[in-house]
């Protein structure tokens, strides 16, 4: 074992590095993304018991589950969006595995999101964050902390009215800035999508999906516990299932967090 790994194991054992679970429980109760009903739909998470120490299998308990690739806490690969469809190595089975472990910048928008469900993260907001915490390094995740995951009631979490969903997200310029000026690894949110609830009406529609995936960047959504991460210094482990030509997958997202944080 190299010194670096030995040190990491030691730090984990001593508590100098803590592991934070960024993942929501995969449950039938967790809502899935909602599209107009005539469109194809993402399947919600469903669990069917195969046997439970009973006549279907006397000594064991197990389930079959079904869900969409974009159910629960999940990873978006570039192939998910039409803008990223022709990029090389753009699906879950071909993504470079080194991208699955990467540093994270956590931008705290929780106060703003609490006041305004439609809060949009802007370039100015990001620059103000950089003024306090330093420049966002290339190849890092930018995670938008909104504390939205604390809405445990699915109605509040989805926050629909007659004009659709009202959840925070980035504005188009902020996404362009992160992609072009900062060359981030991807963008992560606590809400059901990386884009804001009303992003279907933005120019372009769904800017975070369009620009991020068009540039080979990734998405993480339905994250939780972002309030336990420092603004900088955490390392995110986010490895999607190796689905052949998969557009994404539910995953167990973890963060390594230094004790001082």
């Amino acid at each position: 074992m190299t010194a670096a790994l030995t040190a990491l194991i030691g730090a984990l054992a001593s508590g100098d590095v803590r592991i934070v679970d960024l993942t929501q429980v995969l449950s039938p109760d967790f809502p899935q993304i909602t599209l107009p009903p005539e469109l194809g739909q993402c399947r919600p998470f469903r669990l069917e018991t195969v046997s439970e120490y009973d006549e279907r299998g006397g000594g064991w308990y197990w389930n079959n589950f079904s869900c969409g690739e974009h159910t629960g806490t999940h990873f978006d690969a570039p192939i998910h969006w039409i803008s990223g469809r022709d990029l090389p190595n753009n699906s879950t089975d071909t993504l470079p595995v080194r991208d699955f472990v990467a540093p994270a910048c956590v931008v705290d928008c929780s106060a703003e999101a609490a006041k305004d469900a439609d809060f949009l993260l802007t370039v100015d907001f990001l620059k103000a964050w950089e003024a306090r915490h330093g420049r966002i390094p290339a190849g890092s995740w930018v995670l938008m902390r909104t504390d939205w995951s604390k809405h445990t009631d699915p109605v509040a979490y989805q926050n629909f009215d007659e004009e659709g969903q009202h959840t925070p997200g980035p504005d188009p310029d902020a996404v362009r800035f992160l992609v072009k000026e900062r060359d981030v690894l991807g963008f992560g949110t606590e809400t059901i999508g990386t884009d804001a609830g009303q992003a279907a009406h933005f120019k372009p529609p769904y800017p975070c999906h369009t620009y991020m995936h068009g540039a080979g960047k990734y998405g993480l959504q339905c994250l939780t516990n972002l309030d336990q991460l420092p603004p900088t210094g955490a390392v995110v482990i986010a490895a999607p299932l190796k689905i052949e030509r998969g557009s994404g997958s539910p995953l167990r997202a973890l963060a390594l967090v230094p004790k001082a944080a």
Binding site: E38, R43, P44, R46, L47, T49, V155, Q158, N159, F160
Partner: protein, 414 residues
């Protein structure tokens, strides 16, 4: 006049629950003709094609001329009550529990004299009466003589109420109360006198217009229920299953595609998941306790209603995958009916034509208003039928299907 039904007293919890017993259900194959007509709400007898004799009871051959050319033919519902008696004793458990029984002989204008139950309001003989072919708790056809006034209903007689599934004073679960039909069924059940109507809802974050208003109806209680989620069905059944007297499964997933209109199987799977497997989940969770409560006092578990579609009989190609899911549901409902039979809990299938909703927006009228669907369900519960075909389209398709199923298939494909 029989007394109007009073609110039954609450169950005495120290007494054992009465177990369901079947009225005698054995019938010859020929006699099942009476049942299959009654299941559709019709009174039919065999008429000999050779000599014209109207025959009762049903037999394999004409009792006049021995011809086997017997045709089941709708009969007039009028008759003359000739005589009556009171049966005070029976070795049949079902009759014994409920004795005495008023029965009589009724002469039909077409010739035969039939044995019929007499409604409590039926005048003593001689009297003009109305004959109704009803289904008893075994699901077999029996004949009932009612006053000729045309207003008296089976359910007005406390003993014959068993032949109906009247929602009055009962507790009803509507599995999906968010859809326009679901909302209408909830309101209709309340109007029909149900004590309590549970309004099931899935995906609470999708706010359907009108659904929230149901909360304001005092008899209505909302309950989370998603028929695609086994755990949700299990939890709802655990919470209320032992109180549900009538389950009305309105859960329906309807998209409008044939095989070539839409690539992939995802939409068809979703239709099958709600329309067929959803029924299976409900049946496994709710039906066992309903079966056990089939004779649980005046407000026993009594009926299970499935909202199918006339497309279940023959595939309507523009809505082809939906038709397939409803045909699968029809088959499963027959399975459920067979397994519920001994308990006396009636499985009623509704086969509406196109309903006036967003998924039929491209179809020309006539289309059924959701309130008309709800009203057909209540009518079926208050009456004594198994299969209901509400609306002009359903009636027309049914007639063509009964006459020539291949012909209907062919017509629908053009």
């Amino acid at each position: 006049m029989s007394e109007p039904l009073q609110r039954p007293k609450r169950k005495n919890p120290i007494l054992a629950t009465r177990l369901p017993k079947e009225p005698p259900s054995a019938r010859s194959r020929a006699a099942l003709g009476l049942t299959s007509a009654a299941a559709y709400g019709r009174f039919e007898l065999q008429v000999c094609a050779a000599c014209g004799t109207v025959q009762y009871p049903p037999r394999e051959a004409c009792h006049q001329c021995l011809s086997t050319a017997l045709v089941w033919t709708p009969q007039s519902d009028s008759g003359e009550l000739l005589t009556e008696t009171l049966v005070r004793h029976s070795m049949e458990l079902f009759f014994r529990e409920r004795a005495p029984w008023r029965v009589g002989m009724v002469r039909l204008p077409s010739g035969p004299t039939v044995i019929a139950y007499l409604h409590a309001d039926c005048p003593p003989p001689p009297a003009a009466v109305r004959i109704e072919a009803a289904l008893d708790r075994a699901g077999q056809a029996v004949l009932v003589a009612l006053p000729a006034d045309g207003r008296t209903r089976l359910a007005d007689d406390p003993k014959l109420r068993d032949m109906t599934c009247d929602p009055r004073f009962r507790k009803v679960l509507v599995t999906d109360a968010k859809s326009p039909v679901g909302q209408a069924v909830v309101k209709a059940a309340v109007a029909a006198g149900a004590d309590l109507v549970w309004a099931g809802y899935a995906e609470a974050w999708k706010k359907t217009p009108g659904f929230e208003d149901l909360k304001d109806i005092p008899q209505v209680a909302l309950i989370p229920l998603d028929v695609t989620d086994s755990r949700s069905v299990h939890e709802a059944a655990g919470e209320i299953g032992f109180k549900v007297d009538i389950l009305i499964n309105t859960a329906d997933y309807h998209r409008t595609y044939g095989i070539f209109d839409r690539p992939g199987v995802e939409t068809a799977q979703a239709e099958m998941e709600v329309n067929c497997i959803g029924l299976l989940r409900l049946a496994q969770e709710f039906a066992p306790v309903m079966r056990a409560r089939g004779a649980d006092g005046p407000s026993s578990a009594v009926a299970w209603v499935n909202l199918l579609s006339i497309y279940a009989l023959s595939n309507f190609p523009p809505h082809g995958t939906y038709s397939a899911s409803k045909a699968a549901a029809l088959s499963l409902s027959q399975n459920l009916r067979a397994e519920m039979r001994k308990s006396g809990v009636r499985v009623i299938n509704l086969f509406p034509g196109p309903i006036d909703d967003e998924w039929n927006q491209m179809l020309l009228p006539p289309k059924l208003a959701p309130a008309a669907v709800a009203s057909a369900i209540m009518g079926a519960l208050q009456g004594s039928v198994e299969d209901v075909f509400p609306g002009d389209v359903a009636q027309e398709w049914l007639a063509r299907w009964r006459e020539n199923p291949k012909g209907l298939e062919r017509e629908l494909s053009m």
